[in-house]
Structure formats: C-alpha cells, structure tokens
C-alpha cells in the first residue's frame, strides 16, 4: 500500500537544475543514512561488551584471577573456575587447525592449479556445501558415526597395535567422546571456510607470477610452493583466521561429542569442555545470581579471547603485507 503511494512521486522527470539540487540533498541524506548504519555496528559491539562485562563483574570480583586458573566448576557450592573450558576451547580449535589447514590448502591448490575445469566446479561446490550443514547435524553424525569409529577402531589401533597407550597424549580409557572427536568435527566444519578463501586467493594470483617461475626453470611443484603460495600467504592466513573464529565459537556439535567434563588432561582421548559449551549447557537452568554471573564471565573471556586472536591475525597479515611490499 505505502509502496504504491510513494512510487509516482519518486518517478517524474524534472528540470535539470531542480534535479541537481535534489541530488545534492539526496547525497547528504544518503551519507547520513550510511553513516548511521556504519555506526550501528560499533555501537552494538560496545553495548554487547558492556552487557557481558557488567553481568560478569560479580563473579570476576569474587573469584578474581583464580577464575582463569581454577579447575573447580561446582554450581552447588558456588565455586567457579574456567580454566578447563579455556583450555578445551583452545586445544579443540588447535587440533581442528592442525588437521584442517593442510587439508584445506591442499584442496584449494588442487582445485586452482591442477584440476580440469569440469572437476573444479563440482568439487568446489561440494566442499562449500560442507559449510551449509547445520552444526547439530555434525553433532549427530559425531555421536552416531565418528565416536563409535574412534572408540572401536582408531583408539584401539593406536593403543594396542602401535603400543602408544603409555604415551600421555594417548592415555586413558577409550570413550570415543573427547577432545579428539571435538577437534575432528571442528576440522570438518572449518575446512570449507579455509578452502574457499584459499581457492579464491590462489585464483587471484597473477598469471605472470606463475609464468615467471616456470620461465626460470621451476617445476610445477616449485612454482606453486615458491611463487604462488608466498604471494597468497596473507590471504590464506585470513582464511585460516576465519576458520579459527568459527572453531572457537562453535557450540552445538562440540558439546555433543566432547564429553563435557571440566578437566584438563594431556590426553587427546580424554573428555573436556569448551567455553561455548559451558554457556550453552548451563545458562537455561542457572537460577542463582553467582552462577549466571560466572557464565557471563565465561562469555566475557571468550569474547576477549576472540578479539585477541583476531588482533594477532590482523597483525600477522599486516606484517606479511609489509614484508612483501618491502
């Protein structure tokens, strides 16, 4: 209805002078609107930060620095320490990166450098499709397929066939649920992000870069390794950071397979906990004020951690850009 009434007044062709004035006004209004929109984001961010930190304050004041170092998470007796969750978030994301980065970069190199066009499109599409799967579906797949596979096949193989059971990294009973399962699920989830960005970046590397390397007598492998990848390095790191951001904040799939035990263990097979899981698990049933505040504090730590990780990434990209420029 309103659309119909506005349409005619917006249409008519007018004299050049009038239109000029109108467009000047329009520019100004347009600038205000876009400035306002641009401001909404930082304002929202500040409001969120304010809300999270003011909510977290009672717990942070009560526990102080020990909130970051204590492993106690006991809602009944009101003792809260987030160390296992911080550890779990960092380690599960690290496992995910270690697995996903080589795989994703490998996929991207294959698709951009080696694959014939008729393979490139469908495979790229399939890899991108991984990003469209809801995380709860990954979680279910984890519970029904990955965890039993780890418990029945992979973990016994490492422990009994390779005799690595006494090694701390592989110690403990074979639950299936645990840090390794979480890291593997995360690796699959972040793979499409890293691979999509890397593929685009590699395709954007100028042809002349490749031809120059080949002209100098480089093999195809040397051309990719010495000429293409360094050129694309900062872009690839950008993709990795995008994946890392996703891994740090992923909640549902990780909660379903990590075992949810607030404990720090050196073993990949041991259950753990992540910050996002703690919040998702406990927020809806937390009634006591200190408990809610402790959960907000976990949120605040996660918030800070994400910002720090992003800042380090920006700095890395910036430094590499400068090295290349210089």
């Amino acid at each position: 209805m309103t659309d119909a009434s506005i349409a005619p007044t917006a249409q008519p062709a007018q004299a050049a002078g009038v239109r000029l004035g109108a467009s000047g006004n329009g520019d100004r209004i347009y600038r205000w609107i876009t400035t306002g929109m641009a401001l909404v984001i930082p304002i929202l961010l500040v409001l969120i930060a304010w809300e999270v930190f003011s909510g977290a304050w009672p717990a942070l004041r009560k526990f102080g620095f020990s909130f970051l170092t204590s492993s106690q998470w006991d809602a009944v007796n009101g003792k809260f320490g987030a160390a296992p969750a911080i550890f779990g978030t960092l380690v599960s994301s690290l496992i995910a990166l270690i697995i996903a980065v080589p795989l994703a970069v490998g996929v991207a190199i294959f698709l951009s450098e080696f694959a014939p066009t008729w393979i490139r499109q469908p495979v790229a599409f399939l890899v991108d499709l991984l990003a469209a799967i809801p995380s709860v579906v990954y979680g279910l797949w984890g519970i029904l397929v990955l965890v039993p596979f780890l418990r029945v096949t992979i973990i016994p193989f490492i422990k009994d066939t390779l005799h690595l059971g006494s090694f701390p990294l592989f110690a403990g009973p074979a639950y299936g649920y645990g840090m390794l399962a979480a890291g593997l699920i995360l690796a699959i989830m972040i793979l499409p992000y890293i691979s999509a960005v890397t593929r685009e970046v590699l395709l954007a590397v100028p042809r002349s870069q490749r031809e120059a390397a080949l002209a100098l007598g480089a093999t195809r492998w040397e051309m990719i390794w010495d000429a293409v990848l360094p050129y694309a390095r900062s872009g690839i790191i950008g993709g990795v950071i995008l994946g890392l951001g996703r891994a740090l904040g992923e909640t549902m799939a990780v909660t379903m397979v990590i075992g949810n035990r607030p404990e720090i263990s050196a073993s990949l097979f041991a259950p753990g906990y992540t910050m996002a899981s703690v919040i998702a698990n406990e927020f809806s049933e937390a009634t006591n004020d200190l408990h809610i505040s402790a959960l907000m504090a976990v949120g605040a730590v996660l918030f800070l951690l994400t910002i720090v990780v992003n800042m380090i990434a920006r700095w890395l990209v910036w430094r590499m850009g400068r090295e290349q420029g210089g």
Partner: protein, 362 residues
C-alpha cells in the same frame, strides 16, 4: 532470481498472516469452535522441558475442547522461574521447587506450587552379558556415580544379583551435561540414600560430577548408554523405553526391588502424600518413598502461579485449565510415560485451585 523468491516468500507470509488474523476474530467470540492454531493467545507460560511433551499435548487438547489457547515456551525450569518472577508470563513450570530466596524475589507476591504429574527417572545400563534385569540399591548407585565402584563384577553388585553373569568390564558413567530437572531428581535421590553423596557433589540441576561423561540432553545420555558397553546413566523413563535400553530394578525404602514404571511412580507419590503435613506448600521431594510397590526415583513437576491474581478473567482461565489437567489431562500421562498424580493428591489440591478462582471441572 533470489530476490524474487524472497519477495514471493514475504508476500506469502503476509497473506497467511492476514488470513489467520481474519479467522481469529470470530474464533475468540465463539471459543467452542476454535481450531487450536493461530488466533490470540489467552495464557502464556514458560519453564520446564521435562514435562513438555505432555504439556504440549494438554494445551492442544484443551484448546480444541474449550478454545482457550495457551502458549508455552519450554525454556528450562530456571527461565520459567525467572519469567514468572518478572511477571512476563501468566504461569511458570519447574522440575525443582522454587527456593525461599527465589520466592522472595517474585514480584507478584506468594507463588503457589501445583504438582501436575510424577516424573520417573530410570537407571539405564548396557551390560549385554546380564540376561536378567540387574538389581541395584541406592548406595550402590551412589558409589558407582561417585567412582567408588568401577567394575561391573564388583562384589557388592554381585551380592544383590545372585546368579547373574557380570563382566569384568569398566563401568562408564554417563550424565547430563546441561542443567536439567532430571539431574535434580536423580541427585536429590542420591543425596537421600548416600551421606557421602550428600556431603560431596550434593543435589542440583547441574553439579560437579566425580566421574563420567556429560552428554547433551536425555537423548544424548540414552545414545551414550546404548552405544557403549559397560555404560550406566540416568534418563527419564520415556527415553529408556523408546531406545529399548535395559533399566535396573531399584531397591526402595521398604527393601523391595522395583522396576521403573508409571504405576510404581504413582504408588510412590501416593505413599508420600499420606505423610504430607496438612498445610504443605507442595514444595516437597518424594524420592525414596516408602511402600512396597513404590519406585524410588520420582518427583513432581510443578506449575507455578501467583496466589493473588490481578486479572480475574485470567485467574479463572488458569484455574479452569489446571482443574481440567488434573482430571481429564492426567489420563494422557501414562501413554507418554509420565505417572499420573494419585487421586489422594488431586483431592487435596482442589481447594488450592479453587482459591485462585472457584469452578467445577469441565
């Protein structure tokens, strides 16, 4: 192309919305003709997820019968208590009674606790070697969940299971990872049968577990138990049945070993009601009830309403609904593996509901 699809979707949604808006008006004028979907909502509630399958059935049936529409958000007991305290909903629902400090914080004054059904928590296990149902006692369950008993062929388990073949495998404990009314009921029970549990982990919707793996949701615990040999966990009866997991017979306060079932839970509630004080506010635990046929891990789940209602029409709607739920509604309970309230309790609750708004069951 995408844009056209989006516009079409918006238009379609708008068309549906205005359509149901038109329909809703006559509906509310003639409640008996209501269809149960769309239209204005008469009552809003929020809270426990544990009784949600039953509650959603109740609300649908009640809307079809009377035209009174109830919008219930299963956000969790904590959120239900919070929203009731802030008076953003007409009623709350919780698996654990409100604490005194929660009651003091409620803005609308005194809160009435009205039990609706009895929930049953089963001990589920995966020991394929044992061909007859395992028997367990309260202290045994507590020691398993405390990590003091770690093997299935422990002599204490064997002592109550004469003739049953028990494997020498590790016991893997599975528990809920998220805050849950089921955990509250289970830990309430363990606290009542084991001093070590009471002074250790204690009772709560989420506690610090001495051993075991946390799984998300009852379905998560059920999956973990079903997949893992040697696993033991606690789930609502419905999940154990749907997943066809073995459940243990538990020794009750009278020394009998009882299988989890709706009848055994109602019988436990009946035994507990007989011992209630005359002026009880129903914020009571009924775990480990006496009575030869009582199953020990049971609990009420409650609707929470303000004692003093400001809107007389709403008060009447709430009271009428509860009256219906406690009579006709209770008949739906057993099919969904909840235990109906014993008749003795319904009789005692009637004056309490009448105090909201008098009436007769429809």
């Amino acid at each position: 192309m995408k844009r056209w699809i989006a516009i079409a979707a918006v238009l379609a949604a708008w068309a549906c919305g205005s359509d149901s808006g038109k329909k809703a008006a006559p509906d509310s004028a003639q409640p008996a003709a209501a269809s149960g979907s769309g239209g204005p909502v008469d009552l809003t509630g929020a809270g426990a997820t544990f009784p949600q399958p039953l509650y959603s059935k109740w609300f649908a049936e009640y809307a079809a019968k009377t035209g009174v529409k109830i919008n219930y958000q299963p956000l969790g007991s904590g959120a239900g208590i919070k929203q009731l305290s802030e008076q953003t909903v007409d009623f709350g629902a919780s698996d654990a009674p409100m604490s005194d400090s929660d009651m003091a914080k409620a803005r609308g004054g005194a809160v009435l606790h009205i039990p609706t059904v009895v929930g049953v928590v089963a001990i589920a296990y995966n020991v394929p070697e044992a061909t007859t149902p395992l028997k367990l006692t309260g202290p045994l369950v507590a020691d398993i969940f405390l990590g003091k008993i770690t093997k299935w062929n422990d002599s204490r388990i064997a002592a109550v299971n004469a003739g049953v073949k028990l494997p020498a495998t590790d016991i893997l404990v599975a528990h809920r990872s998220e805050g849950s009314g089921t955990t509250f009921i289970f830990t309430d029970y363990l606290s009542s049968v084991s001093p070590a549990w009471k002074s250790g982990p204690g009772k709560g919707k989420e506690i610090q577990w001495p051993v075991g793996l946390g799984a998300k949701g009852s379905d998560g615990v059920a999956a973990q138990v079903k997949q893992t040999r040697g696993a033991i966990g606690y789930v609502e009866l419905a999940y154990a049945k749907q997943n066809q997991i073995s459940t243990a017979l538990l020794q009750n306060a009278s020394g009998q070993f009882v299988a989890p079932s709706a009848e055994a839970a109602t019988s436990a509630a009946d035994a507990a009601v007989a011992k209630f004080a005359a002026n009880t506010d129903y914020r009571v635990s009924i775990v480990n009830a006496s009575g030869a046929t009582a199953y020990p891990i049971t609990s009420f789940t409650w609707l929470l309403v303000y004692k003093t209602q400001t809107d007389a029409a709403k008060a009447k709607k709430i009271a009428d609904f509860i009256r219906w739920a406690l009579t006709d509604g209770e008949k739906d309970a057993a099919a969904l593996d909840y235990a109906p309230l014993p008749a003795s309790l319904v009789a005692r609750l009637t004056p309490r509901i009448d105090s909201l708004a008098p009436g007769t069951p429809k």
